[in-house]
């Protein structure tokens, strides 16, 4: 059952002259949650953004190495980054719904994917809202502006928007860092349910969160992958001294 969905091979990322990621190699397993942890500035977000080629939108970013999605290098010259982003959804640190209605926020994702039939759209939008647990809270106010929702609801809306087009991989960049504990719990719960359908990669600086929800953990430090393994093992019996120091809170 442990199929590799995404394989990162010898990934180097530079911002102009700065070498941000150094020779990172990492497998990401299908239908599991992989957490990327590490202190601020270690390259967690850069690694995440490399997986859907969002990194290329940053000024001066340069990528070397390979990222294989189902065995095919997404950085091949003939691959359009747009098709990659359609297959790999992303949720950001700060909830970023568009200043449109709740319905239109999700509908936009479907339109980008070329789905325009009204009844198909309604069905998929309802489904995405149900999967994220938002349906009960917003079913009577789909026409209201998404910015009127609470922070936690906005973030779940962003997740709904990302999964409505059923991507293969879901990337989350510290999705709960701006949320209160209850909203955080709801999102963690949601992610654990979603891994049945999706392959999930989450960047977090909250180690309890990584321990609670992830199956595999990658520890990054100063642009290098220090250790990767099953979450249980990383948190109870890490092989590297640096990993142990970090997860026991000796630095970070």
């Amino acid at each position: 059952m442990n199929t590799v969905k995404v394989k990162i091979e010898n990934l180097n990322v530079y911002f102009k002259e700065i070498h941000v990621l150094k020779k990172v190699s990492l497998p990401i397993l299908k239908n599991h949650i992989t957490a990327i942890i590490g202190p601020s500035g270690c390259g967690k977000s850069t690694l995440l953004r490399s997986i859907n080629r969002m990194i290329e939108l940053s000024d001066g970013a340069r990528v070397e190495g390979k990222i294989l999605l189902d065995g095919k290098n997404i950085y091949n010259k003939d691959v359009d980054p747009i098709t990659i982003r359609k297959k790999i959804g992303m949720v950001f640190q700060k909830p970023n719904p568009f200043p449109k209605s709740i319905y239109d926020n999700i509908a936009y994702a479907l339109k980008v994917h070329g789905i325009k039939d009204r009844s198909t759209m309604d069905e998929k939008i309802n489904d995405a809202l149900k999967q994220t647990g938002l349906w009960k809270e917003v079913q009577h106010r789909l026409k209201e502006n998404a910015l009127s929702l609470s922070g936690g609801q906005q973030q779940r809306l962003c997740i709904a928007r990302a999964i409505v087009s059923t991507p293969e991989v879901l990337l989350l960049d510290e999705p709960t860092s701006a949320l209160d504990p209850l909203a955080t719990f709801k999102i963690e719960d949601l992610l654990v349910r979603l891994k049945e359908k999706y392959t999930i990669v989450i960047v977090t600086h909250n180690m309890q969160q990584a321990a609670r929800i992830s199956d595999y953990t990658a520890f990054l430090y100063m642009g290098r992958l220090i250790e990767f393994g099953e979450t249980k093992k990383i948190f109870t019996n890490p092989e590297e001294k640096l990993t142990e120091d970090y997860i026991t809170g000796r630095f970070g």
Binding site: N96, Y108, S165
Partner: protein, 284 residues
């Protein structure tokens, strides 16, 4: 020593307050002055009737209508150009010589004295292109005058759209043009709309650009074709104060027209502020 600092502080606050007060009072003194001189002629008839007896009696309806038509037409002409330049500058242009050249050109256009636009309009639209002296030529001239203002306000509104919206759109697999058209532009519309309305207010008060390109002292009826000459409030004021032989009857009408113009522009600006605030609340 302490006492001295305290005194210095007080003196500073006093100076700042007084100078601020003087600056603001300029607006109210102008309003009071124009109102006192012009209010006596103000009436429904003044607003909705045609002038009579060589401008010495009657209303200023054609000048109000002319100002409206030319202002709205010129902004309508300038808008697509201004918006395209703004989209180019904020979304596509890299920080290079070309974009700084465009920026410098736009800024210089904004700094050009309005009488130069008048001369240019006369030469280019009226004579060279042969449009003649009419609403069309004046509107085109005013459109060039207002273009830099529209570019600037639109560019600013586009830049104020949080980059997180763009990011969210790209992450969903949208391409650049879809992101701009469906996400960035709609989010910037309140700001762009405010800029458009302020532009209408600005061109409504311009005199020099219409002086040689289409404004006239008197027309019969209303200017209903783009190829007809027109009356406009600012030019009407100018004409009443410089031509004719009955100053004692013309001057009050001039002040009345000035009052109408200033109220018109104030109303337009209030509308712009209202739209901006309303939309801002929604986005926050």
């Amino acid at each position: 020593m302490r006492r001295f600092h305290h005194l210095k502080d007080k003196f500073y606050i006093f100076t700042v307050s007084i100078l601020t007060l003087i600056s603001i009072s300029a607006l109210f003194i102008i309003l009071y002055f124009v109102f006192r001189k012009g209010a006596s002629v103000l009436s429904m008839d003044f607003l909705f009737r045609f002038p009579r007896n060589g401008m010495t009696e009657g209303g200023i309806l054609p000048a109000i209508v002319g100002t409206f038509i030319v202002s709205i037409l010129s902004v309508t002409i300038a808008l697509p150009f201004g918006l395209m330049v703004a989209i180019y500058l904020s979304e596509y242009a890299k920080d290079n010589h070309l974009s700084s050249f465009i920026r410098v050109s736009i800024n210089n256009l904004a700094g050009t004295p309005s009488i130069i636009f008048g001369l240019f309009g006369l030469y280019f639209f009226v004579n060279y292109l042969g449009f003649g002296s009419n609403i069309l030529s004046s509107s085109l001239t005013l459109a060039i005058l207002i273009l830099p203002f529209i570019v600037r306000t639109s560019e600013e509104s586009l830049r104020n759209v949080p980059s997180s919206y763009r990011e969210a759109s790209y992450a969903l697999g949208a391409d650049k043009s879809t992101t701009i058209l469906k996400i960035v532009l709609p989010s910037a519309i309140p700001g762009i709309l405010t800029g458009i309305i302020l532009s209408v207010g600005r061109v409504a008060g311009e005199t020099a650009p219409i002086l040689f390109t289409g404004a006239t002292f008197f027309i019969k009826g209303l200017p209903l074709s783009p190829f007809s000459e027109f009356m406009a409030l600012p030019y009407h004021i100018y004409a009443l104060m410089t031509e004719g032989t009955q100053p004692d009857r013309q001057v009050p009408i001039a002040y009345g027209s000035a009052l109408v113009l200033i109220i018109l522009v104030l109303l337009i600006n209030i509308l712009a502020i209202y739209i901006r605030n309303k939309k801002r609340v929604k986005i926050e």
